[in-house]
Symmetry: C2
Subunit: 636 residues, 2 copies
């Protein structure tokens, strides 16, 4: 089978590929940045590219492409990269909206105090030298010296046994041992007690975050984050799980990708902090259950099928060498426990970080993402659920949706009179699309100004050029003609509004059912923590206006950033926190929404703005009534 040549514009990457391979496959191999949410299955329509030379040398347009790309653009050479096979040499242009760009990431979370009591410690000892009259083994005399200092019952790892003779002799019989869980995992000549580091890692579906800590004093030395290198294999958890089921080496491929990502971050963290990789002795890892399983090489297939049971839920300690993490080869990688198939260790870490489980007062913790995990309760009891909020808030399934990257509209206001939008983009770049926080603002503003009614319908007779009929129904035009980077108007369509309604209804009903489960009222909730990248950037007022969660007073809402990362750091610094995490696994009552008898009704009633029962949102409705709020006909 002969090869063909593919060239990608605008970045100019070029490579050979087997005939009949898809454009997306080659792009992935060459590292060309093309979005894909569905994992290359022709469903999401995000991987649109344009064949600019060699138009005849590609496979015919498919049904899926006709459904997802309008005919004008199709005839202009636009195709789905995943559905187009290459039959001869071609040149392909990747338009800006199909690139993922570099996402706006946040890595700083809550700062909380934990007692400094890491699992890993260094002990320097002076060992008696061997002599004719005392030819005990190096091991024996080292363990004796440690026991004399009060550390008895230790064992040497094979790795430290291998290094022991040279360490003892180079150090003039003074060595520093690194001990974890009763095992000496490393030995070094001389006194190196101050050089002891650890890394806390948060494996998000979209991004990876990491924190290098000095374990001798608990100080944060550096933070790094990166896009999850698994994204080319599917943007969401389900498409990645599917890949592990359908592709023979899928799991190993995905595992390799995330391990590479972690290693790259580690390399940068060490470089920036003047720490050698071998001085990083422990890693704590959190993530949603699918990320957790894939990271460990555990098949996550069952997570995608009812009853969505995880394979493992307890904490795991594994060797860094065995996992391929480039830190001290004898170092320990500790994964925190998970609660359920869709409530992962990131959620447990979030609880640790916010202290929800210790407070006498009732708190909510909402970690917004494609799956939104919600925890509610206090020191006496906790319940958690996962809502399939979908990727709308990440910009997917929204016509002009995009990630929170440069050029994304992140804030938006609509003038009540002119219905014209003012907006703010990330990096003040030319608008390229609209990201999660902008989308929430848009919907709240459209509701406030009467562009949509409480059923989410865009009005037909509002007398403004900003509201117009589009391909798929009515749409609201955000940008003025020629204003956007793509040359096309950025709009919110009727279909987009419906996607958003489904997403927010899922979240609302999850929160509502958890409150019912614990018998709580809105008033009894003391604090609402909004966590995760999106949870930290959205405007809480807008979120409340559209009814994303029950109507908590705004003053009680705290945006806490990457609480999962903070929890991972706590578990790295403190055995006490690690123990709490292990207890939380059994303590948090998991509520499975899919099988909950009240869920269907609750969800259907939340598909309104802010809710079909307006008396659940008295403050919001009061404010809206002063504006141009349109209550849907037929809703009570």
């Amino acid at each position: 089978m002969s090869d063909v040549e593919i060239t990608f514009h605008p970045d100019g990457r070029r490579g050979r590929a087997p005939r009949e391979s898809t454009i997306l496959e080659t792009a992935r191999r060459l590292g060309v940045d093309i979005s894909s949410v569905c994992g290359g299955r022709g469903r999401c329509g995000m991987c649109v590219v344009r064949v600019v030379a060699g138009e005849g040398a590609v496979s015919p347009v498919t049904e899926e492409e006709r459904a997802l790309i309008n005919s004008g653009r199709l005839s202009d050479g636009h195709r789905l990269a995943c559905s187009t096979a290459v039959l001869g040499d071609v040149v392909v242009e990747v338009p800006p909206e199909s690139r993922r760009g570099r996402q706006k990431l946040q890595t700083e979370g809550l700062e909380t105090d934990v007692p400094l009591d890491p699992a890993v410690v260094k002990l320097t000892v002076r060992v008696e030298a061997a002599s004719i009259s005392d030819s005990r083994s190096d091991e024996e005399r080292t363990l004796k010296a440690l026991a004399d200092e009060g550390h008895s019952g230790l064992k040497l790892s094979l790795g430290s046994a291998r290094r022991l003779p040279s360490a003892l002799r180079e150090g003039g019989w003074t060595i520093t041992t690194t001990v974890i869980g009763g095992r000496v995992i490393d030995v070094e000549p001389g006194e190196t007690q101050e050089r002891i580091y650890g890394v806390a890692i948060d494996l998000g579906t979209t991004k990876l975050a990491s924190y290098l800590l000095d374990l001798s004093d608990g100080v944060l030395l550096a933070a790094e984050s990166t896009m999850n290198p698994q994204i080319p294999f599917g943007d969401d958890v389900i498409s990645r799980i599917t890949r592990t089921i359908e592709e023979r080496d899928g799991l190993e491929e995905l595992r390799g990708a995330v391990i590479n990502g972690v290693n790259e971050m580690l390399d940068r963290l060490c470089e920036r902090s003047g720490v050698r990789a071998e001085e990083v002795y422990e890693a704590t890892v959190v993530g949603n259950t699918a990320m957790h399983h894939i990271f460990l090489g555990i098949p996550p297939g069952a997570l995608a099928r009812s009853p969505y049971a995880p394979v493992v839920s307890r904490p795991i300690d594994a060797g860094a060498g065995a996992l391929g993490i480039e830190m001290n080869a004898g170092g320990n990688v500790h994964t925190l426990p998970v609660i359920a198939g869709f409530v992962g260790s990131d959620c447990i870490a979030g609880i640790l970080a916010t202290g929800v489980h210790k407070s006498r007062k009732v708190s909510f913790l909402i970690d917004v993402g494609t799956n939104t995990e919600i925890v509610v309760g206090n020191g006496e009891g906790l319940a958690a659920c996962s809502c399939a909020s979908g990727p709308a808030f990440e910009g997917a399934h929204i016509v002009h949706g995009m990630r929170a990257a440069s050029g994304a509209i992140e804030r938006l206001w609509i003038d009540r009179e002119t219905l014209e939008a003012e907006y703010q983009t990330i990096d003040d770049a030319e608008p390229l699309g609209i990201c999660g926080s902008g989308i929430v603002d848009a919907l709240a503003e459209m509701l406030r100004t009467g562009i949509v009614d409480s059923a989410g319908r865009i009005g037909r007779d509002l007398g403004s050029p900003r509201i117009r009929a589009g391909h798929g129904g009515m749409e609201f035009v955000i940008t003025e003609t020629g204003e956007s980077a793509t040359g096309r108007d950025i709009v919110i369509t009727q279909g987009d509004v419906m996607e958003l309604l489904k997403a927010k209804a899922a979240m609302y009903s999850g929160a509502s059912i958890l409150m019912d489960t614990l018998g709580l009222s809105v008033d009894s909730v003391d604090t609402v923590y909004l966590a995760g990248a999106f949870g930290s950037y959205l405007d809480p007022g807008s979120a409340r206006t559209i009814g994303m969660f029950p109507e908590f007073p705004l003053g009680r809402i705290r945006q806490v950033g990457n609480s999962a990362g903070t929890g991972a750091r706590m578990a790295l610094l403190s055995m006490e926190a690690r123990m709490e995490a292990e207890q939380l696994r059994g303590k948090v009552k998991y509520v499975e929404l899919a099988s909950h008898p009240g869920f269907g009704r609750e969800y259907a009633r939340a598909l309104f703005l802010p809710h079909i029962e307006l008396d659940r949102f008295p403050v919001t409705v009061g404010k809206l009534r002063g504006e141009s709020f349109r209550k849907a006909q037929g809703s009570r």
Copy 2:
């Protein structure tokens, strides 16, 4: 640098080598069998080869070669393979006496009973299926099922977690778990409780022995042995240790060689027994301390320098995967403890096998080899030492010495009248040389017939053509002209006798000092176990005649074969035996001969046949006096 071509006769192997590389280096690389005791340092003279074409294309004869090869043979093209660099294409002949051949090995040892209580067990459990109302993790429900059967507190290894979901579903929620030390190391679908195997391994300097056992009933399924693939890197322990010090990758090279050897045996064991490698869950390993360290990748350098301290002495459990042993990747490799730098875990295994440590009566255990380990004592106390008996009994440093391979003279008798020798060779092949048991017989017979006197001097005026002057003094001719496979007469030289005296004196004085240490007399010793390949083949009467050990009644001597292998099998089958081994480590008093104040005198006095103090050997001397025994002039 240009390459040259080397061809080896008689096996016809041919290969290219860098100019200036030695013949021995290339032979090793091509797998051509050439003896070398000193590790290629020009000292042992065992790697003699003959350059038969391209004589001008080799480096000049060295001092060492002049010392080790007589001038006639030198001029005939004989060279040391280790000292001869190749400068152009050559053809090299490897004479039979320079080949190691395949050694006569024995793998069967004592049969002893141990309670069947292996460290590894298989447990089949029925696990509750996951459902919407019970979405606990696979791990949780599996550990619950195990706890319900009375096995609580277990943990899953990462490997078993990875296989758990498919095992549960393929097995219809019935699985078999393999548990060792509180960890589930493997899971399989269905009921496989009967398929559980282990391997016991004895790492000898010269040979490797292995035994495959069914751990469900303790039955020995197969035994395999092979030459230690480290031999090309040096025949004795010291040359191998030296190699780990002097060569950058020496340790890894030697470790790789022994691991390969073990894996090849394992492969044959499994093949012969219809067992899959993944069904072998545990290995127990014994060996002398240097073999033990090298096997584990622990630098053995300190073993070659005073005070000869080992690096580790306690038992070690390491993952089969991490060590590269091709059994179940999650399986456990358990190395038994060692006592001292030159008293290894093979010695501890020998004690286990003979039960010396449990008996009320006093026993001796003598494991004869290049280093001879001697243990003496009973249930109340044990002492051990190592004697540098040297490689004479393995056939090295003896002019016509060879290993116990085909063609070796293994039994020998001398006619008192004619002084002619009758002998028996291994495989009844044409005589090629003389191996350990033949050497001991020869010396005993030479003493009995008056060919040597009690000082070891070969008589000059015995009036027999069998006693003649050779290159290095008098020599005794064993074979008649033209009888040997090499065409040369096989002789025992005066130098050989002196080597043997040193070897036996080392052993005798070790045993004698141990008896003194414990205050024992010859009469108080109930049983003497002779272990190891050589110890099992030699004639105990001959050994006693030359004074290799104190004059124990022959009826008390038991030849027990590979007691180290037997002990390894016991530790594999029984946790109790393993515990005993661990206790022995601290219980056996190690006596360092080199620093013992009485050693020098004792050794010097043992350099006679059977001993300078004839009253220590009343029975032997009585018998000899009826023959042609010549007491040396000047000795009392």
